[in-house]
């Protein structure tokens, strides 16, 4: 066994953390009663809840180590990948988000069937499942690599224990558990990262002549390390233009448009506008903070190396900088807490992916094969079973990924192999009506073939290289994404021109050109756009038709609503973030002002408490 790190106090802190998260997640399991609850959390949450839980999804367990390494080597340009996601926000917020939300898509592959064909859906299902399960395996491996050094337990046993721990709270809770545990873990991630930054700055003040930690940090980085963007095209393993195409373009589209876990999170929002707020706040505010959270150990490490000789080993490997800096600047217990943040990153990323994978298995394999004949209860049971199966497969894949030279290489291989065809397929599908079913299948198969050729013969990528050096025997790294996108798009466009497009009627609501019609499709009738005000009411149980609620005439006047309009009713306590809420349809009004009639099922689903006021507002 290699060196065992940390103290007993650190180990207790990590174990306590696992226990708290498992208990927290299991508690919220009671809010998952249907497959809609399990996968989408009942589409009821406020934007701020979605935002924080997205933080924890976006930061994987490898993020701390990976970005600290780059920060130590190259300085502030390690933040590039966290700060180049805005360019596709217009298309996401007003194109893709309304499409997936209003069409009530259960999964990304479902879009491929509705837009193209069942065959396209099956291929997309296979690729997305492979991508997600592989990603889960990589997350397990990353954390297990860190934990087995702390506990001295064999690597594979550590992997199994992590898988079991995440299963316990996810198995019963589904998306609601994922959102609430990720909310807590998101806070912990940010707090731990900023705590490390703060301790690092204090360390610099204590060990140098500076009175300000920030000034000490700034002055002890070279001008090159202060640049926020990397050198345009060198070195081959970290250059601006390659990372721009891999992460800023392919990665951003993949993350915003194809990440099933993220998409499910947005679909858990109570409305499209809440989803927009969550996405915009996340990219504008949370991502820059996250960039500091995951990178700062590297910057601090570099500043310490330059200003406090001997504090860190002279031959410190960049990959070890996160642990080395954390060890140096924290005390026992706090180190355990920092490692617990790594656990938080793993658990929150993998639980999202596991939930997304089981959603794909149920929505894209089980339901189409059984023609959706089984009961919702049965499907919910199978969804839970699927999440266990996904984890078992992921655990089995860990040795395969462990055989790669590094986790990043394994991760990069997955990204470059599975993302570009899907990115091109979904992007052309949304924005080009003429794009055909045959063309999308050709994009998947022909594009993948050309991508493999590019990996085998890197000279094919040379015309796209922007002057990046070709590494003998290793090929191009990031800029390969531009080649992959080009060949996939090329195949798709070419085949489209040689195949007959479907009639526009069959594409209604499936492209950006119909977004303005989606509200009508969602509601099933004309949208009432008049702007009313929310009302505060108490409920009474009545035997109403399914999905209907009845308000007084006066309350309907205040909300500017009519029979058939959609209404959102939530517990008045804002900090619940919509946890206790329902969507319903206005029925005929009554005369009891301040009272809403709901049925037993709605009361049960919304977890409303007798005597506590509810807030109701017209949706559309």
């Amino acid at each position: 066994m290699e060196n065992i790190l940390g103290t007993n106090l650190d180990r207790i802190v990590i174990l306590a953390y696992f226990a708290v998260v498992m208990g927290f997640g299991a508690y919220f399991g009671k809010y998952s009663k249907t497959t809609s609850d399990y996968f989408f959390g009942g589409r009821r949450f406020a934007w701020w809840l979605i935002t924080i839980s997205i933080v924890a999804t976006g930061i994987g367990s490898h993020s701390f180590v990976k970005y600290s390494t780059k920060a130590y080597q190259y300085g502030f340009s390690s933040t590039m990948t966290y700060m180049n996601d805005w360019f596709f926000m217009p298309l996401f917020l007003f194109g893709w988000l309304p499409i997936i939300y209003y069409l009530r898509l259960g999964s990304i592959p479902e879009y491929f069937e509705r837009r193209f064909s069942r065959e396209a859906r099956y291929i997309a299902t296979f690729m997305i499942l492979m991508y997600m399960i592989g990603y889960i395996a990589i997350q397990f491996l990353t954390l297990a690599t860190a934990l087995y050094k702390i506990y001295g337990i064999p690597l594979m046993l550590t992997v199994v224990l992590i898988a079991i721990a995440t299963t316990i709270y996810m198995h019963f809770g589904g998306q609601t558990s994922v959102i609430f545990t990720d909310l807590i873990q998101g806070f912990i991630l940010i707090f731990a990262g900023l705590l490390l930054f703060s301790l690092g700055l204090s360390f610099l003040v204590e060990n140098t002549s500076y009175s300000s930690g920030l000034k000490a940090l700034w002055d002890n980085l070279s001008p090159l390390e202060k640049l926020p963007l990397a050198n345009f095209n060198s070195p081959p393993d970290f250059n601006f233009v390659g990372i721009f195409w891999q992460d800023g373009i392919a990665g951003s589209i993949g993350f915003l448009f194809l990440n099933q876990g993220l998409i499910m999170r947005f679909m858990a929002a109570r409305s499209v506008n809440e989803g927009r707020k969550a996405a915009a706040f996340n990219v504008l505010v949370i991502l820059p903070i996250s960039a500091i959270v995951v990178s700062n150990a590297g910057w601090i490490g570099k500043a310490i190396s330059n200003s406090v000789p001997g504090a860190l080993p002279i031959d410190l490997a960049p990959n070890d900088v996160f642990v080395a800096v954390a060890n140096l600047i924290t005390s026992p217990g706090v180190f355990g807490f920092i490692i617990a943040a790594l656990c938080a990153a793993l658990m929150s990323t993998s639980d999202t992916l596991v939930n997304a994978s089981s959603s794909v298995i149920i929505n894209d394999i089980y339901r189409p094969l059984t023609k959706n004949k089984s009961s919702d209860k049965e499907q919910l049971r199978l969804a839970r079973l699927a999440s266990v199966v996904v984890k078992v497969i992921a655990v089995c894949l860990v040795p395969f990924f462990n055989s790669f030279e590094s986790i990043y290489e394994a991760h990069g291989w997955f990204h470059s192999t599975f993302t570009p065809p899907l990115v091109v397929g979904v992007f052309l599908g949304i924005f080009w009506k003429r794009f055909t079913s045959t063309a999308v299948i050709a994009t998947f198969i022909g594009g993948a073939f050309l991508m493999i050729l590019g990996q085998m013969y890197p000279t094919l990528i040379s015309p796209f290289s922007h002057g990046i050096e070709l590494r003998p025997g290793r090929g191009y790294s990031y800029i390969g994404a531009l080649y992959n996108l080009f060949v996939c798009a090329g195949v798709g466009v070419l085949v489209t021109f040689f195949t007959k497009p479907v009639s526009e009627n069959k594409l209604t609501g499936l492209t950006v050109f119909d977004v303005h019609k989606l509200k009508n499709i969602f509601k099933g009738s004309d949208v009432n756009e008049s702007i009313g005000k929310p009302v505060v009411v108490h409920y009474k149980i009545k035997d109403l038709n399914e999905g209907m609620v009845s308000f007084s005439k006066e309350d309907m006047e205040i909300t500017k609503s009519k029979k058939g309009d959609l209404v959102y009713i939530q517990d008045q306590r804002w900090w619940l973030g919509g946890l206790k809420s329902i969507h319903a349809t206005f029925d005929e009004p009554h005369d009891e002002k301040g009272i809403v009639y709901i049925n037993e099922t709605q009361c049960d689903s919304g977890m409303f408490i007798k005597g506590l006021a509810l807030k109701a507002e017209k949706e559309m």
Partner: protein
């Protein structure tokens, strides 16, 4: 520090990225997905452009400060 290290990445990022951003904004406007006569949508137009210039400003500021620290 050379142009390749300082302003070229910035120009490329906000040039090529800017084309994607403007194309997307134009497309959602032309298709009616974004309606300038809706109050809520008006706010979103501001947010979208604010986001673009916010990031451009942050990156430009750090490049300027890094050059100034030589």
């Amino acid at each position: 520090m050379s142009f390749y290290q300082t302003w070229l990445p910035f120009i490329y990022l906000y040039g090529v990225g800017g084309i994607a951003f403007l194309f997307g904004t134009f497309l959602i406007y032309r298709t009616g997905a974004l309606r300038v006569n809706y109050e809520t949508h008006k706010k979103w137009i501001w947010v979208l452009f604010y986001g673009y210039f916010f990031y451009a400003f942050i990156h430009a500021l750090f490049i300027y400060l890094a050059i100034g620290s030589i």
